[in-house]
């Protein structure tokens, strides 16, 4: 099979496996052994993920920029096909391993405080650890079947966590929607995997994609049987990474606990789609890449426009996530493979941080709501305002995250976003013509990003408290909360700054992640775009932010809420409604139709046969009854009637008897005499 690995490598592999299995162990312990609502569960899961993180760092140090490690074990044999279970540690997988554990750890710690007092506390950590297990396994497995398995399992964990508060109607609808929409992608992915298997007779990723021969074959053969699996994988990624047109589950998924949104729906699981694209990147033919670019670009733009007008804090962040994932997708499409992954890593930290901040804010708003018995939505940013002075840590970390999202210099976002946009321009240059619209839209989206995140910050943290405006008497008590909130957030804020990624805050090419994946070296013209992009965005940050400031804090202007554009944005481009009215209804209608078919056509035919049979039977019965039996019946009837007739004489009336007697005498006499 595989050549035996040297001892140190075996150790690394074992460490990676342990890193993956630790959360699973924690999950199982939480499910089976730990009593519900026990404090132990939170710490158990957190330490498990801490252990995973430590191991991940070790593995990362071993593998990063070193030859990839691959180990496998026979799982089962079907026919002549051997299905292996194995892990494949290369730059991509160890980066993801590290990233996932690094994001998951703060979220775990945060959750300990966030979920305190919930009656399904233990269950929560069991699910969360299970998710971590599935996610970690997803990134290191070497085999498409297992990839698919864990791909679905993260979706399943996400299902469980979105519907964690399953009493809430919306949460339940959201998790169903999330799972089914993901299932669309899953089915496509499965189809892709099976098509690949049909072509290459292996599921092994290493054989398929790390093998130059196969890669070369795939690269040259731009035929139907290569394009199709590529398209299938793309659909899988689209569903998982919430890209148009399968993005509507993500905003709804915000019904889950905020910590879950931070980990799963911002940092890790949704990034799995991008990860998948990266993992099977060689498979994509130019056509598929083009579709990928267009979808990514469009999604980024669309989600940004929607984020402009939403009022739900988490929904804004959700659309922001979709938008950023669109960027990554676009980056993948234009060939900015390494920038996409850079952005993936950077985005994981700052978006997770944004969600955690949002969690703190919502937590406080919830407290206020319960304390004063208000009838407000704790997630509505219209009810917030002026919270900055009460919650300094949240405020500051949030600003850092927002700047990273914008791509402000000195943050991680600056590096990654620049990389994407610059390479998009280069790509458009190469293609020429109308393709320039892609990077331009990317820049436009960046500008929209500046606006909506400014809006969010200003509405939440600055200005006057809108609640206080309504009820001046109240003393608003909001604070940053326990250290279990603060420490993870500060940790993530530090991760959102440039030093973690690059020594040079302006040159994405210097980022180690970029270097780890760099495929091609770009021409000099990159430099021009570099400057243009950097300048255009950073220069415009100030006026756009000021514009937002004047609208939302000073309230100098306001938007017309009746305008068409506002409506489109506010109603999320009517996509969800379209799905509901057209697609879901129609599928249910097909269901009803088949039910009708079953009942009336199929069963109807059967019943027709049955009834015909019964009718024939009835006919014979009729014949039997009236013709054959009829003769006998008639005979008996005659006898019976005769009997009855005679019986009629037996009236019990003496006079009748006498009458009869006399009549008989007369008759006899008449007979005797005259005949």
């Amino acid at each position: 099979m595989n050549p035996t690995l040297p001892h140190t490598d075996t150790l690394t592999i074992q460490l990676a496996i342990v890193a993956v299995l630790l959360p699973l162990a924690a999950s199982l312990l939480n499910l089976v052994l730990v009593k519900s609502q026990s404090k132990v569960s939170g710490w158990l899961s957190s330490f498990a993920i801490l252990g995973s993180m430590v191991l991940s760092v070790l593995v990362f140090a071993k593998v990063w920029n070193q030859p990839a490690l691959h180990a496998q074990q026979l799982w089962f044999v079907v026919g002549t096909m051997q299905v292996d279970v194995g892990i494949w540690l290369n730059n991509l997988s160890v980066l993801m391993l590290l990233l996932v554990t690094a994001v998951a750890l703060p979220v775990h710690v945060y959750s300990i405080a966030y979920l305190k007092g919930d009656d399904k506390y233990t269950r929560y950590f069991a699910y969360l650890s299970f998710f971590c297990f599935a996610m970690l396994a997803l990134v290191i497995v070497d085999n498409l079947v297992l990839l698919y398995a864990f791909w679905e399992l993260v979706g399943f964990a996400s299902y469980l966590l979105i519907g964690f508060w399953f009493i809430r109607e919306k949460a339940v609808l959201a998790n169903k929607k999330a799972f089914i929409m993901n299932r669309i992608g899953d089915v496509a992915l499965l189809t892709g995997i099976l098509l690949l298997y049909a072509d290459f007779h292996t599921f092994n990723l290493v054989t398929l994609f790390d093998n130059h021969a196969t890669a070369a074959f795939i690269g040259t053969a731009d035929n139907y049987w290569i394009t199709l699996p590529g398209a299938c994988f793309l659909i899988g990624a689209i569903a998982k990474s919430a890209q148009f047109p399968l993005h509507t589950w993500l905003p709804d998924a915000m019904e889950g606990p905020t910590s879950v949104s931070a980990l799963i729906h911002a940092a890790t699981m949704v990034a799995a789609g991008i990860f998948l694209l990266a993992r099977v990147y060689v498979l994509f033919s130019p056509n598929v890449l083009m579709v990928m670019t267009i979808i990514g670009c469009f999604t980024a733009f669309m989600a940004a426009t929607i984020a402009l007008t939403q009022n739900d804090l988490k929904r804004i962040l959700a659309y922001s996530t979709i938008s950023q994932l669109g960027f990554m997708m676009m980056a993948m499409g234009v060939g900015a493979y390494s920038s996409a992954l850079l952005h993936l890593a950077a985005h994981a930290f700052f978006k997770c941080l944004l969600f955690l901040s949002a969690g703190v804010i919502i937590h406080e708003m919830q407290h206020l709501k319960e304390k004063h018995n208000l009838d407000i939505d704790p997630q509505d940013i219209n009810n917030m305002g002026g919270l900055g002075k009460y919650m300094p840590v949240t405020f500051i970390t949030c600003i850092i995250a927002s700047l990273a999202l914008i791509g402000f210099p000195l943050t991680s976002g600056c590096l990654s976003k620049d990389g994407i946009l610059v390479q998009a321009f280069l790509w458009a240059d190469n293609k020429g013509g109308f393709y320039i619209i892609i990077p331009v839209m990317g820049v436009l989206t960046s500008l929209l990003t500046i606006f909506y995140i400014s809006r969010l910050l200003f509405k939440v943290f600055l200005g006057k408290s809108r609640l206080k405006a309504v009820m001046p008497a109240w003393h608003i008590e909001a604070h940053d909360g326990s250290p279990l909130f603060k420490i993870p957030m500060i940790f993530l804020a530090l991760c959102s700054l440039f030093p973690l990624f690059s020594t040079n805050p302006f040159e994405y090419e210097h980022s180690w992640i970029y270097r780890g994946f760099a495929i091609a070296v770009h021409t000099v013209s990159a430099l021009d775009y570099h400057t243009i992009v950097l300048l255009s965005i950073n220069v415009l940050v100030i006026p756009i932010a000021y514009f937002a400031y004047s609208i939302y804090v000073k309230q100098k202007f306001s938007f017309k809420t009746t305008s068409l554009l506002f409506k489109i944005s506010f109603n999320e481009w009517y996509i969800d409604r379209f799905y509901h009215r057209i697609i879901v209804k129609d599928i249910l209608r097909i269901g009803d139709l088949t039910k009708w078919l079953d009942k009336n056509v199929l069963d109807g035919t059967i019943h027709l046969f049955a009834n015909t049979g019964v009718a024939i039977g009835k006919l014979t019965v009729w014949t039997d009854k009236y013709i054959i039996d009829g003769l006998i019946t008639m005979l008996t009837l005659i006898i019976k009637q005769a009997g009855n007739f005679v019986r009629g004489f037996q009236t019990g009336r003496v006079q009748n008897y006498l009458f009869t007697m006399l009549l008989v005498i007369v008759v006899i006499y008449v007979l005797k005499t005259f005949i």
Binding site: R647, Q650, T651, G652, R653, V654, Q655, L658, F659, L662
Partner: protein
């Protein structure tokens, strides 16, 4: 003379039959029976004229009269009992014998 007596007897007999068959009152039915008996007695008496030595006709006419009287007494006793039982003396109403 004899023929006429017989004819009267026949007529009486038939009237008796008619009464017995048609009346809805046991007492009237009894009357009809008595008429029939009388018709018979009339015949006995009419023929008894030609039996001077043995007086068969007249003697049996006497017996018949006496027995008719006894029968009437028994019949009336029965009628009374029937009335007690059924609160009616309509012979048609007394049809317990019917199957």
């Amino acid at each position: 003379m004899l023929t006429y007596l017989l004819l009267i007897g026949a007529g009486l007999f038939c009237i008796g039959i008619f009464i017995v068959l048609s009346k809805r009152n046991a007492i009237q039915v009894l009357i009809g029976i008595e008429l029939i008996l009388n018709a018979a007695i009339l015949n006995l008496v009419a023929f008894g004229k030609y039996d001077k030595l043995n007086n068969g006709g007249q003697t049996f006419a006497l017996f018949a009269i006496v027995l008719a009287g006894a029968a009437a007494a028994v019949a009336l006793a029965i009628i009374l009992n029937v009335y007690k039982q059924y609160k009616t003396i309509d012979p048609n109403a007394v049809d317990k014998l019917k199957d």
